[in-house]
């Protein structure tokens, strides 16, 4: 019971202190806010990118067309060879008749054209699914070198570039976010240091009247925690409203139907939870550090 009352008291003291050192608290909170907004953007963007690339990668297949004169044995051998390439996950055969059937269903013009021809002009093919999209080109090139392969194609260029641009964006945001988190930690650390300094006479009295270390230190740790949590309020609002508005303005996708955005709910709520957690953790640890360093009891 006593411990709980000390806890509650520390909580109140910390809250008062946030407002007592208002300008400093404001600076820490502002920095936390900016950091967390960027963290939020980074999460929103990179999660969307991850979502898209995963989808793209899933749909990424190399279509291998066989020479017309290829025999059944040759085709079988080729399949085995392709399957033995390390990056290949799955090889599916699609005959020219299947292609023809599919195309005829696709549009009536194609249907009439194909029906008009006596011989099927299409080729037998393999659809090759890869494990890692990064090595798509290499894998395609290896396949091209095989005999009886007429061509091995994939959405060359665009997909490649998209994947590498996404990768770059991810890396840059990670670096910026880490730098900002460090700056925030430093600012909160500094705020707590000054709070400790401005209340040193109170701390001294507490020591003389027999307050436990827990009772002396806890208010300052809470103060850092509060600064972090207060700093996450605006980012959370920005995240929820910003993403909802962006999502509805863009009708849920960018560029084309290919790049679909992640649905807002419960995505924004998870992101908000991450933001408040980051704020609290950074606030807690930076004030804990300051207390350990500057509050010797």
């Amino acid at each position: 019971m006593k411990a709980i009352r000390v806890f509650v008291r520390s909580f109140k003291e910390a809250f008062k202190s946030v407002f007592r050192n208002f300008s400093l608290s404001a600076a820490s909170v502002a920095c936390t806010t900016i950091t967390l907004i960027l963290v939020s953007i980074a999460i929103l963007v990179s999660y969307n990118i991850k979502n898209v690339t995963e989808k793209l990668e899933n749909e990424l297949t190399i279509v291998v067309y066989l020479e017309r004169e290829a025999t059944k044995d040759q085709a079988e051998n080729l399949k085995k060879t392709i399957e033995n390439i390390p990056n290949v996950e799955k090889v599916t055969y699609k005959s020219k008749d299947e292609w023809k059937f599919e195309m005829q269903n696709y549009s009536s013009t194609l249907n009439s054209t194909l029906s008009y021809l006596k011989e099927n002009p299409l080729l037998d093919s393999y659809a090759v699914k890869v494990k890692d999209a990064k090595y798509l080109r290499k894998t395609a090139d290896t396949i091209k070198e095989q005999e009886i392969v007429r061509s091995a194609e994939y959405g060359e260029g665009t997909v490649d570039k998209l994947v590498s641009v996404f990768d770059l964006i991810k890396r840059v945001t990670v670096v910026i976010v880490i730098a900002l988190v460090l700056v925030t930690a430093f600012l909160i650390n500094n705020t707590i240091k000054i709070a400790i300094f401005s209340r040193r006479s109170e701390i001294e009295i507490m020591r003389f009247v027999g307050s436990s270390n827990y009772a002396i230190k806890l208010p300052f740790v809470f103060e850092g925690l509060f600064l972090g949590i207060i700093g996450s309020i605006i980012p959370i609002i920005v995240t929820i409203y910003g993403y909802l508005i962006a999502y509805s303005k863009l009708n849920g996708h960018i560029f084309s139907r290919m790049i679909e955005l992640v649905k807002p709910f419960s995505f924004v709520l998870y992101v908000s939870l991450i933001l408040v957690t980051i704020g609290a953790v950074v606030g807690f640890f930076s004030s804990y550090r300051a207390v350990r360093k500057y509050l010797k009891v």
Binding site: G210, S212, V297
Partner: protein, 233 residues
């Protein structure tokens, strides 16, 4: 029954100053003891050993059954809760009322408000400040502020009250008042009192045990009533 015991205590500060050399003392429960001596002779250092602000370089300090020199930093508060400390400068919280200042040792340690109130009122009554409960420290005279400090020091009902020149900042009449308060705490509550002072008048008038120090050693220890008169230096 002895309450304080120092055996072969030395204190050498990191800068090489030997503040205490081979101190041996025993103080009984309920005793009232003055510690006097010229400036820099080690009086405050001796007090600091008693409330574990400093550790003896060598020797053994026992206060109220606690082996002080073995007490770890984290546990010092256990000793401090058993004693009250008063200094020359008052060290009150300026933004808190008299009541809040006196309640501070209890409220900061999570004691229930309903338990705090009677204790605070009792302490304030003892020092004669019951009518100033709602005042702030800067609205009080020096003597009144020191009385608030005394109330704060005894609100925990400690067995020992350590006073390091409590009247150092006060004029003679007010000092007399404060001494009256401390004496009544000793008599009414049976609190052991150890008091450092420079004020010969107080020592001569009160007729208590007097320990005289010089240059880090005890030069005389005169029991209650035997102390005649301090030759002014």
């Amino acid at each position: 029954m002895k309450f304080i015991s120092l055996k072969n205590c030395y204190k050498v500060y990191p800068n090489g100053v030997t503040a205490l050399a081979d101190i041996n003392l025993e103080i009984q429960k309920g005793e009232f003891v003055f510690i006097i001596g010229p400036t820099g002779c080690g009086k405050s250092t001796l007090m600091k050993l008693l409330y574990r602000e400093e550790k003896p370089t060598k020797g053994n300090v026992i206060v109220g059954g606690i082996n002080v020199e073995k007490l770890r930093n984290r546990k010092v508060y256990k000793l401090r809760r058993k004693l009250g400390i008063i200094f020359q400068n008052f060290r009150l919280l300026p933004k808190q009322t008299v009541y809040e200042n006196v309640a501070f040792p209890l409220s900061s340690n999570g004691i229930k408000d309903t338990e705090i109130r009677p204790k605070v009122l009792k302490a304030l009554e003892l020092v004669g400040l019951k009518d100033k409960i709602k005042s702030f420290p800067d609205q009080l005279s020096g003597g009144e502020q020191q009385r608030v400090c005394i109330a704060r020091a005894i609100v925990n009902e400690p067995k020992l009250l350590l006073c390091d020149e409590p009247t150092g900042n006060l004029d003679p009449d007010v000092s007399k008042e404060i001494m009256g308060v401390i004496d009544s705490i000793n008599k009414k509550l049976g609190t052991t009192i150890v008091m450092v002072t420079h004020d010969d008048q107080i020592v001569n008038r009160m007729k208590k045990r007097v320990i005289t120090m010089d240059n880090g050693v005890v030069t005389s220890d005169v029991m209650k009533g035997k102390y005649k008169k301090h030759e002014s230096n």
